[in-house]
Assembly symmetry: C2
Homo-oligomer: 440 residues x 2
């Protein structure tokens, strides 16, 4: 087998066999296939796409390129959730306790933030003492004892994905739907869960800017998951507006706790209930309506916060900040942003909101940046709200006053205020299963 | 400027500016742009093509990436000729003396053969003592004294083309018409001639298999040449059948000499007269009919062979083999191939004919292979000829009897004999100028 022939085949619109795809991925990881051949192949994939058979084979090869997690040490059905990333997306902190409270184990590996999007691991680490790097045994023990555990990736997982992603990043081949699907699903297959719920974000703060592209990506990922023998469902959820009111690490934990107490903002609560219900559905806890009832009930009866407290304690964290979020350290400086005119907020460019938060110290501009866990924004007014000129629409928090000027100008640039009330848009656009795309 | 942005622009169908193209080519030659970015760019070009402005800018950048030949030391208008390569293509050996005899200087750099196609330099080197590597001064002196000189490329010409071609060769991006045009025309611009005649071969022995593709390539090259200020014309000539009867180095020189004496095969003579007439036309010697008359006259009055003899002598070669081709060394072994049935030869797969010749020792399988100048084939019967089963259709020559078996089986595989006489096809399909495509 020669890589040259595989590039030529893809370039000419042919379909690669499973053996050819495996040869290609293994050869690349082992260094037998050079970057310059791989990048030509990836560009050919950008133009010619991949068949369902090809994406499945590539996902399997990527998953098996490194450590495969075996979750057999945890009893029962394990359900994973993956978000394609957004701003103010603290859903994992809310859903995992809900699902665990309903009797389905969550043994989840999450990532860190980069660029304008946050990461669950950074948010968890804003809890003093919280460990996100556990041994395999400790991880299993926490899940078995508390019903849930969220940790960072460890060991040598999906090296093929890391190497390919780094190459795509410098050769303008990142935004290829089959390649995105392979990258995400490769990591999901390696993570060892039985079922996978995908939260595909769509809009100005998401990687996928349109509902159509988001559905296309969701379909590819659901097909890969199902073909790999995992029950898989995707929800297409809104990221044209930041989710909830809080952006920043401890600020998002605080909002998650509020939501687990039943006091969260409506958009965040609704998205989390839908995600949780679908995870329970995937785990076979009933039909979707029954699962939704179960999730709501869990919040109402107050059992969910206990779950988060138990997990934080089990992972060495100071649970007092969860029991009373007033115990969180606070940023020494704050700065209010007033509306610059009267009218309805019609647009919040969500990527810019995320950049503003990063500029305040809440995110990373490069992999090695230090995070300020107390920094971020609280959005008091969102799209659809009527505001008076001068009224407080947001507050920024930082540990360095000089950061406010830049962040404020980016945030103000993100906001459009107009006379006419904007049309209301759904929070969840569609649900994608192996059989159908249900549009909401 | 970042290479990433240039890849993205091309991938998305944008047009790169002249500055961007120059940055890209220079950065690649200097090693600032890595192979993996260049190969992604080249694959994007494969799918998105290049505009006339882009191909011109890239050709100029490729030409200027190394030494530019300055032919000012040679008086008068200098006309170059380039063939896209074929089997039995000894036209340069015939045209250069004709054009020189008609008063137009030919200062030509030619290549060596690789794979199934031969190279003019190898053919010349079958003449004992012939030097094809001359100093610039000696090259000019030979042209000024004899009217013509054909040498190999020397110095550091078009390193960008060499580096890009090596990359394209392993990334399945060779067969892109704009990239082929840039590669050929970059070398032509660097070679410093005033006018360029392109002989674009078409058919089973050519790089371009269809007339349509050949015309498309010709149009791109003519546009580049004219936009670069060189008078440029292309002929699309047949390579679905080997040109002439002889394939192999000294065998082709012998046939070229026969043709210069007016005793050449009709197809070869016609193609050479047309090419020579167009070169004279480009040099401003008259209209095409007048130039054709001039070329024919040159052969008839016997002045052309003298030109070849003079050039061979000036370049240190033993002209006695030209004056009497019986003086050429002969291969020690020969082997006749009989027709395997009675009927008309309808197909001669020309690439296979070339491979048969290479297998006999006349060509190179790799860059470092040694050539046997005496090896090759003489084709006694060609497409359209009626043959009786058992009749001699070709003779193979080699210095090692064991080579015949393989070569014979490839040659026999190339030949199809059928009952019905095949339709006659033109030798020259079209003439492409900056203003028009004239189909013949």
């Amino acid at each position: 087998m020669r890589m040259y022939d595989l590039i030529m085949k893809k370039r000419n619109g042919g379909e690669l066999s499973s053996e050819e795809i495996t040869f290609l991925i293994n050869g690349y990881v082992e260094g037998n296939i050079p970057d310059y051949q791989m990048s030509a192949f990836l560009m050919a994939v950008y133009f010619k796409g991949m068949t369902e058979g090809e994406t499945l084979a590539m996902t399997n090869a990527v998953a098996h390129s490194g450590d495969m997690v075996d979750l057999a040490g945890i009893d029962g059905i394990k359900v994973d959730k993956h978000s394609t990333g957004g701003v103010g997306d603290k859903t994992t902190l809310i859903i995992a306790p809900i699902v665990a409270a309903c009797g389905v184990k969550v043994a989840k590996m999450s990532g860190r933030g980069l660029g304008h999007t946050g990461g669950t691991i950074d948010k968890l680490e804003s809890i003093p003492g919280m460990k996100t790097s556990l041994s395999r045994e400790k991880f299993f023990q926490v899940v078995n004892e508390t019903g849930l555990s969220v940790i960072g990736q460890s060991g040598n997982m999906t090296p093929a994905d890391k190497k390919m992603y780094a190459l795509r990043d410098v050769t303008a081949t990142v935004d290829s739907i089959p390649l995105i699907a392979v990258s995400i699903m490769g990591k999901k297959l390696a993570a060892g869960n039985d079922c996978i719920l995908l939260d595909v974000k769509t809009g100005s703060g998401a990687f996928m800017k349109t509902v159509e592209d988001s559905i296309a990506l969701a379909k590819e990922m659901v097909a890969i998951g199902e073909n790999a023998g995992k029950r898989t469902v995707a929800l297409i959820t809104d990221m044209d507006i930041p989710l909830g009111h809080n952006i920043g690490n401890s600020l998002e934990v605080i909002e998650a706790v509020d939501t687990l107490k039943g006091n969260g903002p409506d958009d965040l609560t609704q998205v989390c209930l839908n995600l949780a219900a679908n995870m329970l559905y995937l785990a076979g806890k009933g039909n979707l309506d029954e699962c939704m009832e179960m999730a709501k009930q869990a919040i109402t009866d107050g059992t969910v916060l206990e779950r988060l407290v138990a997990m934080v304690k089990a992972q060495g964290g100071d649970a007092s900040v969860i029991e009373d979020t007033a115990n969180f350290a606070k940023a020494p400086y704050s700065c209010e942003i007033p509306a610059d005119k009267t009218g309805f907020i019609t647009v919040m460019d969500t990527e810019k909101c995320g950049i503003a938060s990063t500029l305040l110290g809440a995110g990373r501009e490069t992999k090695d940046s230090e995070i300020d866990y107390t920094a971020g924004l609280i959005l008091y007014r969102k799209v659809g709200d009527y505001v008076e000129a001068g009224e407080k629409i947001a507050v920024m928090y930082a540990s360095d006053e000089t950061l406010f000027a830049n962040a404020r100008s980016v945030y103000e640039d993100a906001i459009t205020i107009q006379e006419e009330k904007p049309e209301e848009k759904p929070l969840i656009f569609a649900r994608v299963t192996k059989d159908a795309v249900e549009k909401y």
